[in-house]
Subunit: 611 residues, 2 copies
């Protein structure tokens, strides 16, 4: 291999850049960069193929730096490859720079934000599956730290990549022995890692992570496997700088100026090499047409239908007009009704088994390649993927997430299965749309709206069948609400969503008989909330507002409404105020005070009418 | 083994109970129960030792049913053991019953709620570690489903149990081949499971899960291992009822009345056996003294100190007066400063490495045995353990959780490392206390208050050092707040917490110079919030409130205050309204509008004074 000498020079340049950049920035993780200089050199300047002029080129090999704290050496590699100017490197971590402390897509080549450890392998698996689906001949590389191999999410990804037979996926674990605060569990026991990956069905190649020929040979071998492959690279943290090499206490610490001088002396002068000339450009390949159509043929529901069932039906209808839509399941597709999509479009359906973190990670990968991934599980279990959803926001990912079995209305299965904090979780994610339809028609409208929206979106569906309220083809725009009952003399407005809309309508009838007219609003768009609409209704109803939701008190519709109305309305908030238990749905709605009876009482309290 | 015949009878009784209970309830998972009848029989009536009169007996072996949907057969086993009357079994899933759809501690023998899959092994490992620490000779058993082995959390627990050398821990995987919606990834490939567990350091014993002698022999062998052991039990879902045996589509479906009759005919009459006589009572052992003292010697801080550092210091001080306190780390102890406890009390310190789900699961186990576990990591990464924290609430667990590096004030590391949704997450957990101290003295007061509180509590700490505001020994009761500046002529009140308290104080000076007096309140107790105090201040300040927090808009202090003040105040809410990026802390506080400048502006807007 004639290039070895050039690659050695590049590795040294990457080391020098990493040290200089982090000292300049005054923070960062140089020792973590130094251990992977040879790994990144081999990937960027020998193994991977990419068009340095277009990060979206369908023929590009993809790289996910799961150990996101090694961002400086990644930026350095992009600079050496001619993708960004070398002069940008000193902007590391500046407010004005796209070269952030951990990778985000503000730098155009980054497909998914990393820095919360253990997530990169799922994203890489999602990219690889998306590239298979989109007939790209390219490959996906993921560089992992050894410390993050303690995260279970990585093993979910490992399962999944094996199951999906992702021969186009290659991971490299930079086993530098030292975690942040102490040595890792397995230190330099490479066999321990090999046993694990092999047990999870991967082909594993132990290598000396500072030997360029070793790494190149293993990457070569990894390209021949029938499933996913991993290089287990034994490396030295801080490699190349004697006084930090293999030493605890140097994680996340830039060198001081004097230390940097000593390090640079050790490393010698910056070698001259034309790294750009070593970048391998792939032959061009056609890319799939982008997702365009989101309006689908609506279903003619005739009878009460669970919104989760309507979700499944909508997904099939959407899938028929939009080939970019893919579905991901966590072995509950017969409960979320995603199974309808799986049956109709098996080639665009992915089983993640009971591994919600991986579901989200896969979806981030699909989204990054232009697909529109819909993933679904019980709303309660989406809390398992909270950190991945958080990172999806920083990844600017276009995920569509469905959470079924929300609230106490699921009944007898009990609290562990009830999504009662999901609105709080998804509302806390910046930019995430949150929809909560009450009937089947509303569900179709919401699915259409969330599909057409570019960005994160969550839809909350209900287990029991609910009556039909709306009509076929009705639209449910983001940020809207629906007024179901109103008159000029309304004495209060009841703001409900999902299952409680029907309770509000029952309360309306009871109160009407008592000559207490109320307005009933279906706030199906929890985020963005129709704040102007609510303000208008509140004013029209003498500033008396009842909010009723099948959710815990904090972070849901009640607080959203309170924030929107602050200063202008008295708000009675009905919600689940204790730890719920098993029981019949109607029993639970009553016991926790979110049914018609409770609404009637709240209205009476606000209006001072009756007891 | 002379008891085999009796055990066979018990297994049959458990099957009959499970079928009858679920048909009576009209919901539940009978097929899932049937596959584990022999497993549970062997555990309850041969292997385990427990005092049936006292679920808290320190000599009791513990059982965690990780596959919580098999609750009916667990209740049946408790009934056969004489712990609950047989007559209670038909109350399964009733609102009035402690025999819920999935196990919760409403049934006194349940140490941790299960039903969100993949969590039981961490809890079991926590129990086992706690029992080692408390010198109990007893053992811990965890029964897992095969489907849940796809959850990464289980592999985090597997790592951890091996690392902690938990020879008192024995798992049994009920490999019944069928998941909820389709066959599992590995179906009946027992070797695949064996390879995985062995790769994670466990001793694995494949057994025929319907052969009592096989299971007993393996349990015997498992008792001799030097680390954790697992039985890999090949079983048939629906075993004993021919028309559902090994058939897809029977997950979570009770038999209809006619089907039940057919099943009972197949199984034959209920066998007579004195199961209670087979319960093995352990010799009594002394239990550790319960946690009592929470008041600790306060530190005499002299200079600006990061609240995370004060957290670490407080933990040491608390540990000195309270031997029940244990600490759990996710390899960031040198950042959260939990390392101070690790150095002082190595025997009560547990390294979970980078595995946040397992941290929480371990802590639930420790709590169930009377310890007071403090776990700490970056607040951002606690989102990784959201589902476990959710289940901790249903487990009535006494967890103390510290999240460091909150908000944009961490600076250059960038968004992936910033906890900006943690207040929303912890506020959404019912009953969870949420504290956010601004200085080192407040941190000590908060740690003392959260330690003394029985239940879930979260403390949010800041990366940069902050000036001292309070004094040594000052108390910070739950539900309180501190008024830092006030006068009779205050024109607005600024409600801040943590880092923004200092910005509010700077704004006070600026506004004072402009003759706009404001009140400054430190809302260190985010939940419970001092709602009465805020109302009082709002009224005193003409209903003008500015809330300023280093958090995303939804679910944090702003919405908490808005909900508390609804109808009575105009609220200006300053918070992080876009996806943040790397930069200097002060640069970020300014860019996202949560610094003194922004507060001054907000007060001017509310008061109509100046631009």
């Amino acid at each position: 291999m004639e290039n070895i000498e050039a690659l050695e020079k590049i590795a040294k340049r990457l080391r020098i850049h990493s040290l200089v950049m982090t000292t300049k920035a005054g923070s960062g993780h140089p020792s973590t960069c130094l251990s992977m200089a040879e790994i990144l050199t081999c990937l960027f300047f020998h193994e991977m193929q990419f068009n340095p002029r277009d990060p979206q080129d369908w023929a590009n090999d993809e790289l996910v730096l799961s150990k996101g704290h090694a961002a400086p050496i990644l930026w350095a590699a992009y600079a050496e490859a001619g993708i960004i100017p070398l002069s940008h490197l000193p902007t590391l971590r500046l407010f004005t720079s796209s070269l952030e402390g951990h990778p985000t897509p503000r730098m155009k080549w980054i497909k998914a934000a990393t820095g919360s450890l253990g997530q990169g392998l799922s994203v890489a698996a999602g990219l690889a599956a998306a590239m298979k689906l989109g007939r790209s001949p390219a490959r996906v590389y993921a560089v992992l730290g050894d410390g993050e191999c303690a995260e279970g999410s990585g093993w979910e990804a490992a399962h999944s990549a094996w199951h999906l037979k992702l021969a186009n996926l290659c991971a490299v674990v930079d086993i530098n022995r030292l975690g942040q605060s102490e040595p890792t569990m397995h230190e330099h026991d490479i066999d321990a890692y090999a046993r694990k990956f092999r047990a999870f069905g991967w082909e594993a190649f132990p290598v000396d992570g500072h030997s360029l020929p070793d790494i190149l040979a293993a990457l070569d071998a990894a390209r021949q496997t029938s499933g996913p492959a991993v290089l287990l690279a034994r490396t030295i943290k801080g490699k190349g700088v004697s006084f930090i090499e293999n030493k605890n206490g140097w994680h996340g610490k830039p060198l001081k100026d004097q230390e940097l001088q000593a390090a640079l002396e050790e490393l010698g002068p910056m070698p001259e090499v034309d790294a750009k000339a070593l970048v391998r450009r792939p032959p061009s390949v056609p890319r799939p047409a982008p997702a365009k159509r989101f309006r689908f043929k609506r279903t003619d529901y005739r009878d009460k239908t669970a919104t989760r069932l309507a979700y499944g039906q909508s997904l099939v209808s959407l899938g028929k007009v939009n080939e970019s839509v893919v579905a991901i399941d966590g072995d509950v597709k017969n409960s979320t009704y995603a199974d309808k999509f799986f049956e109709t479009f098996p080639d665009r359906s992915y089983q993640s088994y009971i591994a919600e973190q991986n579901m989200v990670g896969l979806a981030i990968g699909f989204s990054a390649k232009g697909f529109v991934p819909f993933l679904a599980t019980f709303s309660a279990f989406l809390s398992r993927g909270h950190d991945q959803v958080r990172m999806a926001a920083y990844s600017a990912a276009n995920l569509k997430i469905a959470g079924s079995h929300c609230g106490v209305s699921i009944g007898e299965d009990g609290p562990s299965q009830m999504g009662l904090e999901d609105l709080a979780m998804f509302r806390s994610i910046p930019g995430c749309v949150v929809l909560y339809p009450s009937d089947a028609f509303a569900t179709e409208g919401c699915v259409e709206a969330m599909a057409a929206h570019r960005g994160l979106a969550y839809i909350r569906t209900t287990r029991p069948a609910t009556p039909l309220l709306y009509s076929k083809g009705e639209n449910f725009p983001l940020g809207g609400s629906k007024v179901l009952r109103s008159s000029r003399s309304d004495m209060a407005v009841v703001v409900a969503a999902g299952i409680t809309v029907f309770e509000a309508l029952k309360a309306y009838e009871v109160l009407k008989a008592k000559k207490i007219p109320i307005r009933v609003v279906d706030a199906y768009s929890i985020e963005p909330l129709d704040a102007d609409g609510l303000l208008k209704h509140s004013r029209a109803c003498r500033g008396r507002v009842v909010v009723v939701e099948d959710h815990f008190p904090h972070g849901g519709l009640g607080e959203a409404a309170a924030a929107a109305l602050a200063g202008s309305a008295r708000v009675e908030h009905l919600c689940i105020r204790e730890l719920p238990r098993s029981g019949k749905p109607e029993e639970l709605l009553d016991a926790y005070g979110i049914n018609a009876r409770a609404i009637v009482q709240a209205v009476k309290k606000l209006t001072g009418k009756g007891r």
